[in-house]
């Protein structure tokens, strides 16, 4: 059983996944940020690999990506930083990134290194299911990594079930059709989450996009297993003197 699956066996409700950008705010912040997230209540960490052209992200995460790249973050550097991180961090860790840098690193080499350092799963939002099924899915599975697909309110029932079938770990329910950080109302999301719950999916569901405070976290958790916070946390890190304090302050408003 993977670390992610084990987490959901123990905890079905109010699972908190927090996104951070590798190499942000400083090149060497990656591990301190992950440690402080674990220490202050995050059940999972989603670690973003910075990219020059992050299509699915809004301005805040884009900017954190740009800063991380300026700081010198690369996939090779990230794996160096992550080498041995399992001595310090026990929560499941998911790498989120875009296809182009991963293809340049070498897709199989990427999966092998991720598995070697102790990463548990991958989110690659621009890897479509056709290419997953025909080419990349078998490589991901070969290294025992979970792979998480996204669904949106516009995704049909048939397709939700298909993507749930291909996913392992959990299913990522995007709360509204938007880029990350869009300010949309969570109450309109309830119908959609209830609909997802009625599909009897094999995976737990975490809700992301637009979760920014306790109210939106509670709303997301009402009909799902938990939620993912990204933009709001990156904002909290912006200009913070010390990531530990900033993380503690931020997460105390959520959990």
């Amino acid at each position: 059983m993977s670390r992610i699956q084990a987490l959901f066996q123990q905890k079905h409700k109010r699972v908190l996944n927090v996104y951070c950008t590798a190499g942000y705010p400083e090149l060497n912040s990656t591990l301190p940020v992950m440690e402080s997230l674990q220490a202050n209540g995050a059940d999972l960490v989603e670690l973003g690999i910075p990219y020059s052209d992050p299509l699915a992200d809004g301005p805040v995460i884009q900017q954190s990506s740009a800063v991380a790249l300026e700081n010198g973050m690369t996939i090779a550097t990230l794996f160096e930083q992550l080498d041995g991180f399992r001595n310090r961090i026990t929560v499941p860790v998911i790498l989120m990134g875009y296809m182009n840098p991963v293809l340049q690193y070498g897709f199989e080499r990427f999966c092998a290194d991720a598995a070697r350092v102790g990463v548990d799963g991958l989110i690659l939002p621009d890897l479509p299911e056709y290419e997953f099924e025909t080419e990349y899915g078998s490589i991901i599975r070969k290294y025992g990594l979970d792979f998480i697909f996204l669904v949106t309110p516009e995704t049909t029932e048939h397709r939700v079930k298909k993507l749930d079938g291909l996913s392992t770990g959990f299913l990522y329910a995007v709360s509204s059709s938007s880029t990350t950080g869009a300010n949309k109302q969570m109450n309109s999301v309830q119908d959609y989450l209830q609909r997802l719950a009625s599909y009897q999916l094999k995976n737990p569901v975490l809700v992301g996009f637009g979760i920014k405070d306790r109210e939106s976290f509670d709303a997301a958790c009402a009909h799902a297993n938990g939620a993912i916070i990204g933009t709001a946390y990156i904002k909290a890190l912006e200009g913070a003197k010390e990531v530990g304090t900033a993380t503690k302050e931020f997460l105390s408003t959520i959990v």
Partner: protein
């Protein structure tokens, strides 16, 4: 029966190993709707009728195929110019925007977004939106807005809203990112008119089909003039590759026709300031398809350079990447300096001021060993009015 073709991608949008639809799930409903409906809509008689009518009466098609006598003499060959510069708005771009606005209407979309670099595609999009009375938002890099003031003014006069892309390098690639993000945030009422043969499937095929009118006309026009439909060479410049896709389209599977794609070498292919994607690019994913992409070893997309804003793009359409990969196409690179020289040569030899993009195609003539018996078609993709500021600067340096 599966005859190999260079024209059309497979069912998943692949030309050889390039293409596909590498998009986040948020775009899936829109892209899938296009994938399932574009061919059926394009084949509807009512669509074809309106498309052909507008191309004839509004765009001014067919554009002439002009035998360039003095240019031919200079190269000791037979050179024909396909005059896309005579299209309404001054370039081939409008062939595609006419097609896509009609398609958007069939899909019931009443809000149009587009990206633009130099502003030519933005103007062509703003034009067809005005024609149809549809809301139009054009994303343009902040830097390009400064560099291309006349085209920004044209778009605004036509009623379009020009939005500055302030992310990344603030040029065409970032304008494209912003347009895609807009589409993600507006999933139901919006159609995205991509200006080149790039983007997720079906865009490369759809745009190539709309632009294929260029080579469709070239075939019968050449037959009228020479008795043969097939030239020996077709030459076109390539940024993303829409005019080249159109100029090549009906010759792609005529293997006797040499297809010459001309990329922008900027200050020199290996100068670090270049946009010669096939020379510098590696396989990667950009703007929704797998193709050749100019990027760092770490997979970060590199900001290219060309004096011509229309060729200043770090990728190339998957159709062209496959022509390069398979050897079907010949890819040449032309520097800023050589392109400028050709622009002046053509102006003085034929009385035609070409766009800087097109000037690259002309410059490639000197890299080919043309024979007296060759029949060469150059796609004159656009006129040079938009580049006058650059040309004026050059004349100052030349003391003209």
């Amino acid at each position: 029966m599966n005859m190999q073709t260079y024209q059309q991608p497979d069912a998943h949008g692949y030309y050889g190993r390039f293409g596909g639809a590498y998009i986040p799930e948020m775009l899936h409903p829109n892209v899938e709707e296009l994938q399932t409906r574009y061919l059926e809509i394009m084949q509807e008689p009512s669509f074809q009728l309106e498309f052909r009518d507008l191309l004839r009466d509004y765009v001014g098609r067919p554009t002439p195929l002009y035998f360039a006598k003095r240019l031919s003499a200079a190269y000791g060959s037979n050179i024909y110019l396909k005059r896309e510069d005579l299209c309404h708005t001054g370039a081939h771009k409008i062939n595609n925007t006419i097609g896509q606005i009609l398609l958007a209407q069939k899909l019931g979309k009443n809000r149009i977004i587009a990206e633009t670099g130099a502003g030519q595609h933005g103007v062509a999009t703003a034009t067809v939106c005005a024609l149809k009375g549809v809301e139009c938002i054009v994303y343009m890099g902040e830097k390009d807005i400064e560099r291309q003031a006349p085209n920004v003014a044209r778009m605004r006069m036509l009623g379009a809203k020009v939005v500055a892309a302030t992310s990344g390098s603030k040029t065409l690639k970032d304008a494209t990112n912003e347009a895609i993000r807009d589409w993600i945030n507006n999933p139901s009422d919006t159609h995205y008119i991509i200006g080149s043969v790039v983007g997720p499937h079906p865009y490369p095929d759809m745009v190539a089909r709309f632009q294929s009118v260029i080579s469709e006309e070239t075939r019968w026009q050449l037959k009228e003039k020479t008795g043969s439909e097939l030239p020996t060479h077709v030459i076109a410049c390539v940024g993303g590759g829409s005019n080249a896709a159109g100029a090549f389209y009906h010759f792609l599977d005529e293997l006797s026709v040499q297809l010459v794609a001309v990329e922008a070498a900027g200050h020199g292919v290996h100068s670090g300031l270049s946009a010669a994607t096939t020379a510098l690019g590696k396989p990667g994913v950009l703007h929704g398809s797998k193709s050749l992409v100019i990027q760092t070893d770490d997979g970060q997309v590199v900001e290219p350079h060309s004096i011509s804003a229309g060729l200043d793009y770090p990728g190339i359409g998957p159709l062209h990447a496959n022509l390069f990969d398979s050897g079907r196409g010949q890819f040449l690179a032309v520097t800023d300096e050589d392109a400028l020289r050709s622009a002046f040569d053509i102006a003085r030899m034929e009385g035609i001021i070409p766009a800087l993009e097109t000037a690259h195609a002309f410059s490639a003539l000197s890299q080919l060993s043309l024979k007296e018996t060759d029949q060469v078609v150059v796609c004159l993709s656009g006129r040079g009015d938009k580049d006058l500021a650059t040309y004026m600067k050059q004349m100052e340096m030349m003391g003209i």
